[in-house]
Symmetry: C2
Subunit: 355 residues, 2 copies
């Protein structure tokens, strides 16, 4: 018996749906989460795949998240939509808001979608990629959970605050990136703790405010922004865009609210879509596509470069036929959850311990 | 006789206007540029102050820029405006587009302004600050001039590609940042060459693709993005937003067009404005203001931190009464230009030599 278990993507989706329903999510939420988890496994983004199910389940059992409230879509202004997630996980709210956002962006040229009161444990590339598959340019921003010290400071205040961006390409998947404004993703620090590996220089400080490479010290101290003061400015911008702008929580407020330490705190998310056909003054609605490719060619003709989404798309070419492998321990945890057993205690400590 | 000359801000504005008119700019362009230059001197952003006048003058005499074409405002979509700068410097076009953009953002919730065919040598904080002074959230992006290698690469391709962001504050100037997506601003590399100082590690590579701290090697090699692959993604995003999205030039194309090496290549600029009053679901149109202050307080209570615009505002408190000082050599160059003399040859090499 090997330590890995192989699953098809269909099995990933079915397992996720069944686990979530057995744990108390309604069908709509279970399906929306399963779509996200399956997309992550398909692209071999393991942090956001089946490994993440414990975050969803913990969030539900902690009482911090609802598994069946119905998100509500409304229009705040001619170019601004809102989905009130009503303290559910963001997956269904994003799915509900994305089509209306795309339609509005095509009418108005630029449009925004505000998502409020959502627990977010998802990657951001799926939604910007979906926008770009419809020919749009997409931004997405989310904050939450105070893990990162501002530049020059010594205590956690900002979230790891990722931003994503996608650009449409003709006859191939969009160019997309999705990056934390911290030097490292939270999950990567956790993985290094589990695996007994040191952090690189410059990624974290300990509770004493001094640089540390020890992931355990980093988790009780603070992570650092990427790129010094400039990355810290990006993190600050994302706090303002997803908290005060949307009338939602700042990361430190979300941390205060998450009394169960689910690792899935609640907050706002801002998604912006632009239609290049409404910007291009030449009258050729596809002029931007060939033009973007000129840039990508120039990048790739330099040895040592790659485009930001290439690794995911390479995986996407393989996994629909080859399936994905997960550790047997994770598979067994999922089987237990599918049978309706509550997660073991260590599953609850979202921020500290991995399945 | 000291080596510095003191000027009031009124004298800065008058000198700039007179120099530009004497060199061939019409009154509208001269005034718009003088506003920008004076704002930069007022905030002690020397790179964009009187020192920059040689870039404007060189751009005009090189034939790359027009000093009197009239920019044209149009509406591309319900939430998208455009100013065709007609190969003038961007200052007047931004001034023309900013009020209509602010008005549209208040109506629509979010709106964008595309500026095409503009030579840009300005800082971006003035326009986002102006938007935020009207209660809006502002973004600005500009590319142009291939100085920066993509992550992993070895040759210049991206511009130094700055982005700016501003957030409104009650009864005080906005929070604003304006940062290159290169590790260093171009002007800072030039200043270190002039002053015989080394670059920090990680800022540049030489023409051989190897790391260098020699500013002369950096100027003929390539600068590097800030924060590695993440900063490179930001630079890539800005190329796409200001080139293909707007139907304008990529940095490498702008470099090819700038056959006179004016250091002021031509391209697009994207400005986005959002009205927090149209996003906030609470119905209190000012809720975001107090909420943003909560974050700023949390940042500043950590020793060693500051807000991104604090240095500029500190200068702004002093210079209206105290004036600014400039090197006598610069003052004398400006006097010569004001009398209608053409700049000396070394003034033309915008990228390489400082006045």
């Amino acid at each position: 018996m090997t330590n890995d278990v192989k699953l098809t993507l269909e099995e990933v989706h079915a397992t996720t749906t069944e686990v979530l329903k057995a744990q108390g999510f309604n069908a709509a939420h279970a399906n929306a989460i399963a779509n996200t988890v399956t997309a992550a496994e398909r692209d071999e983004c393991r942090h956001h795949g089946l490994f993440r199910l414990s975050f969803y389940v913990n969030g539900l059992h902690s009482g911090m998240a609802s598994g069946n409230a119905q998100p509500e879509l409304s229009q705040l202004a001619p170019s601004v939509l809102r989905v009130d997630a009503k303290y559910t996980f963001s997956n269904l709210s994003i799915a509900m808001g994305l089509e209306p956002l795309a339609k509005l962006a095509k009418e108005q040229g630029i449009a925004a979608l505000s998502i409020n009161n959502a627990l977010s444990v998802v990657a951001l590339w799926p939604e910007v990629e979906q926008l770009a598959e419809q020919g749009l340019v997409g931004f997405s921003f989310v904050a939450a959970a105070p893990y990162v010290a501002p530049a020059g400071g010594s205590r956690p205040l900002f979230g790891t605050n990722p931003m994503a961006f996608a650009w449409p390409r003709k006859d191939r998947p969009p160019l997309a990136f999705d990056q934390a404004s911290s030097e490292m993703a939270r999950g990567e620090v956790q993985l290094r703790l589990r695996d007994g590996r040191l952090l690189p220089e410059g990624a974290a400080i300990g509770p004493d405010g001094q640089p540390t490479r020890d992931p355990a010290m980093a988790l009780v101290g603070a992570q650092l922004p990427f790129g010094g003061a400039k990355g810290s400015n990006i993190a600050l911008m994302i706090e303002l865009l997803t908290g005060p702008l949307l009338g939602d929580l700042l990361s430190f407020e979300a941390g205060e609210r998450d009394t169960a330490n689910t690792g899935a705190p609640c907050g706002g998310q801002l998604i912006i879509a632009m239609d290049p056909a409404r910007f291009n003054p030449t009258g050729d609605p596809d002029a931007h596509l060939a033009h973007g490719e000129k840039l990508f060619e120039k990048i790739l003709e330099q040895e040592g470069t790659r485009l930001p989404s290439d690794r995911r798309y390479e995986a996407r070419g393989r996994t629909p036929s080859e399936g994905v492998t997960i550790p047997r321990s994770l598979f067994e945890s999922l089987e237990s959850l599918r049978q309706g057993h509550r997660p073991e205690r260590h599953d609850y400590e979202g921020d500290q311990v991995l399945v």
